[in-house]
Symmetry: C2
Subunit: 233 residues, 2 copies
Amino acid sequence: MKLLLISNSTNAGEEYLRYPLPEIGRFLQGVREIVFVPYAAVTFSYAEYERRVQARFAELGIRVRSVHRAGDPAAFVRRAEAICVGGGNTFALARKMQQQGLMQAILRRIRAGVPYVGWSAGSNVCCPTISTTNDMPIVQPESFRAIGAVKFQINPHYLDANPAGHAGETREQRIREYIEANPRRWVAGLREGCMLRYDGGRLELIGGRPMRMFRKGVEPFEVEPGGDLSFLL
Amino acid sequence: MKLLLISNSTNAGEEYLRYPLPEIGRFLQGVREIVFVPYAAVTFSYAEYERRVQARFAELGIRVRSVHRAGDPAAFVRRAEAICVGGGNTFALARKMQQQGLMQAILRRIRAGVPYVGWSAGSNVCCPTISTTNDMPIVQPESFRAIGAVKFQINPHYLDANPAGHAGETREQRIREYIEANPRRWVAGLREGCMLRYDGGRLELIGGRPMRMFRKGVEPFEVEPGGDLSFLL
């Protein structure tokens, strides 16, 4: 299994997919073409999403082929050299992936060793469920179940504080609700600018900031980049 | 129909339910007892939630009876003098309300003129769906459909900006995704410290800040407290 699960496509003020591109390039070394899943796009078209990603992946010499063009998307995935799922709205993404049978198809490819890259919603759907997304539930998917390539949940775009004066729940409070309702799952609060790489049986945090870990009955704690994550496997 | 739909229980730094209490008192004038729905509580017990709300409503001379104590919660709702649904996690709330048949039971009571007070998740579930909640989908409800006493969606705790340097979607971007996927619905971005009161066929915004309105094909605009909201009815 080879996974690269990225918190966010783009850091504030930077160009689209700029910061993770070198790591994506190392991860996809030797890959000439990826199958791209654009279904998290809501306010712009799938074709536009494919173009944006193609523009950046061209710098790596990788061709991007979006699954929305395929007559049989699941069959298209089964022939993929590598799979990439982009961010956007997690509910829209999960719904369309479920309608097209892509959750199962992608899981099988991942287990066969095909590299998987996701960012934001694309990292969420690699988890057992979409239940730790930050997104608004704008459409109802068939189920909250997702690909389930890993056994833990990722909360992408993890952030520590609310804007000053705002009384809504903090991210930590939201995740504490999740673990209360789902006591057997770990949640990885993956801060922006960070990613998880799984390769050769080893899980690694890459980036400039620690990751905050949550599980019911365990006081939340931080793991530094490069730190031991074997407890998640 | 009599509704009081409050953005948030508590402003930052204030006591629980302090700011909306005078308005709740005016709205519930003559009511001696309310049926309370505590199912949005996740990290504390329903009994604890009932106690917190009872402590505040005692100042209004109103007794609070939580629906979780009833053998037949839907029957309990059918005998209610007034209904109050508290905030917390909207998915946990919707799930339990659906399991107990409370969405339909409460809608019937609202249509019969029984006053309804909700805050945060309790305002969300009064809308056609829970699809404009800010909450994390920690559990899967039967459906995203909710009470549907009003025809528009509320986004409670509406806020204008992200914390500095955070690249995740702003609330406005999230709601723009919602209206793209749900082009016939209005969304009311209800800022903290504000509430909507529906009484005598008239809908009114109460509070110190304007409300931001969204609908597909319409440039988002602000409505001031006391402004015309007849387009939502």
